[in-house]
Structures are given as structure tokens and as C-alpha cells.
């Protein structure tokens, strides 16, 4: 079996890629996809530790994370649709009405 450290490094890489995607992209849909990527990296961590400690808690929490990701995607995409109706754009740096 690959060691737990290998899984942790893989998930750290995926998490960093997701974080980079959240910060650097202008397209809001891609930003939401990068957030999903980060949540998936967390799930890899949880499941790897569940295997290592031979305890089911990690898998249960991974399921809860998937639930939260589903709800977050639904609400986020609804916000994107409404933003597109209001401003005809989904670029994050053009929605700056609250910026003062």
C-alpha cells in the first residue's frame, strides 16, 4: 500500500492547485470548480487517515463534506445565474458594487 504521506502530499498538491485557481481566475464558474477541487483534496486526506487509523469516522466525515459541497455548488450556481442576469458578466472583478 502507498504510505499515508503519499496521499497527504497528493491531497496537498490538489488543495494548492485549487487555491491557486480560486485566486487567479476571473470566471466565477471556474472559481467554483476550484473550490470543489479543494473540498475533494480534503476528502482524500480524511479517507487516507481513516484507512491508517482503521476507523470509520474519516469516511463518515467525507460523506458530510460531499453533502456540504453539493449544497454549496447549488447555491453558488444560483448566485452566478442571478449575477449574470443583473450584470451580464460572471467575472469576479466586475462585480464590485459592494467595494465602496
Amino acid at each position: 500500500m502507498p504510505s499515508t504521506e503519499a496521499y497527504l502530499m497528493l491531497s496537498a498538491t490538489l488543495f494548492s492547485i485549487g487555491l491557486i485557481g480560486v485566486v487567479i481566475r476571473r470566471n466565477m464558474i471556474t472559481v467554483l470548480m476550484a473550490i470543489e477541487l479543494m473540498l475533494n483534496a480534503v476528502n482524500i486526506n480524511l479517507v487516507a487517515f481513516s484507512q491508517r487509523l482503521s476507523s470509520l469516522e474519516g469516511q463518515v466525515f467525507a460523506i458530510f463534506v460531499i453533502t456540504v459541497a453539493a449544497g454549496e455548488a447549488a447555491v453558488g450556481l444560483a448566485i452566478i445565474i442571478q449575477l449574470y442576469r443583473l450584470k451580464s458578466t460572471i467575472n469576479v472583478d466586475e462585480a464590485r458594487t459592494l467595494n465602496g
Binding site: L10, S16, V23, I44, V47, Q59, T67
Partner: protein
């Protein structure tokens, strides 16, 4: 052959991990959101394979069903609905892209220094615990002097990963499970309320006629079908 079967998990991990990292880089590198979504799907499937070789079959199935089945369809649906045309010369990166790269790579270096090989010395667990259901029982012991003592003990029955996760969810994590269902309800109502379109005044006036029109059409169709 023996060496191959012994190295098989390493090989699978290496190949699948490489594909996952490459496709996740492509997710944030593609101009077209549809391409990003398809590479995100590939990443989700690779992560599901990683779950399977970590003996988390139920989570892998949920990953494929919910992520690859549900969330990806939602993403693609919204991409099609909005249908943003990107001009070839339009900027893809935000103004913070240098800082974003710096923060991401710095975070990766931080993680790599924390997770160097051999940090965790605890023994690797057996996956029998991930497939068994715990049952708390008590044993009645009749002593020689006629008294009875109750001795609690834990019985483990090996079932399957799905059943073990189900028992953990419904027995040990029942309240969080119910809260999660409430959360999903709130998310669903919120998505509908946020996403629905406000009708204009002119549309508001004609909406009754529109509904009546639909009902009449339905009646006509039904009569035509029964005739």
C-alpha cells in the same frame, strides 16, 4: 508476477495520482468552462479510484454518484444556460494572479515540510475495522454465590464497507445526519429563491392567462388522446 501484484497499489496510486494532478491543473488552466468541467470530472473519477484503494468503497460510490453525476451536471447546465462567449484576447487571469501563485506555491511548500516521509509512526491499521459493525452487548455471569454480574463487551461482525458506514451514520452520527438533511433542504430552497426570475409587471398581468392557456391545452390533448 508476484512482484507485480505486490507493486500494484503503488502503480495504481502513481498513475491515478499523476492523472488527478494533471487534470486538476488543466481545470484551472482551460479558457472554456466546458473543458474545465470535463477535466474536473476526470479528477473526480481519479479521486474515486483513490478512495477504492483506501478501502472506502461506499464513499467512492457516493463520490461518483453525487459529484460526477449530480454536481457536474449542475455545472454543465449552468455553463450552457449562461453561454458566455470568451473573446480570444480577453483576460483569463485576475489582477491578483502573481499573488495567487505565490500563496499557492508557498502553501504547497508549507504542506511538504509538514508531511515529510516517516512523520507518522503509528501502525498501519487493518481494514477489517472498516468493514465490521460494532455491537455493544452485556454478558450475564452467574457467580458461585448466586449473584449475577453484568459484563459489557463489544462484538464485531464483519459485513461490508457500505453496511459499516451505514451503521456508523445511523447510529453514531444520527444527529449530524439529520442536520445534513436539513442543510440540504435549506440549500435547495435557497437555490430556488435566489435563482428564480422576477417577473416584470407586464408578465405579472398575463401570468393568469398563460396558466389558463396551458390548462386548456392540456385538456385538449387529453380529449384528443381519449378519443
Amino acid at each position: 508476477m508476484d512482484a507485480l501484484t505486490q507493486n500494484m497499489p503503488f502503480l495504481v496510486f502513481f498513475v491515478v495520482g499523476t492523472v488527478a494532478v494533471a487534470s486538476s491543473i488543466l481545470v484551472i488552466a482551460m479558457r472554456n468552462p466546458v473543458h474545465s468541467a470535463l477535466f474536473l470530472l476526470l479528477t473526480f473519477l481519479c479521486v474515486a479510484v483513490l478512495f477504492v484503494i483506501n478501502s472506502a468503497e461506499f464513499v467512492a460510490a457516493v463520490q461518483v454518484l453525487v459529484y460526477a453525476g449530480g454536481i457536474m451536471v449542475l455545472f454543465l447546465f449552468v455553463v450552457m444556460l449562461i453561454n458566455v462567449r470568451h473573446l480570444p484576447e480577453e483576460r483569463v487571469l485576475s489582477q491578483f494572479w502573481k499573488g495567487g501563485f505565490a500563496v499557492g506555491i508557498g502553501l504547497l511548500i508549507l504542506f511538504a515540510t509538514i508531511v515529510r516521509p516517516g512523520v507518522y509512526h503509528d501502525p498501519v491499521g487493518r481494514d477489517r475495522n472498516l468493514r465490521s459493525v460494532k455491537e455493544h452487548r452485556t454478558r450475564r455471569i452467574h457467580n458461585a454465590d448466586g449473584t449475577v454480574t453484568l459484563k459489557p463487551y463489544v462484538r464485531r461482525t464483519v459485513v461490508g464497507n457500505s453496511e459499516a458506514v451505514g451503521m456508523a451514520l445511523y447510529r453514531d452520527y444520527l444527529v449530524p445526519f439529520e442536520v445534513a438533511s436539513l442543510f440540504l433542504l435549506v440549500a435547495m430552497i435557497g437555490a430556488i429563491v435566489i435563482g428564480k426570475r422576477e417577473l416584470s409587471a407586464a408578465e405579472e398581468e398575463t401570468v393568469q392567462d398563460f396558466i389558463q392557456d396551458r390548462v386548456d391545452t392540456e385538456h385538449e390533448v387529453k380529449e384528443a388522446m381519449s378519443a
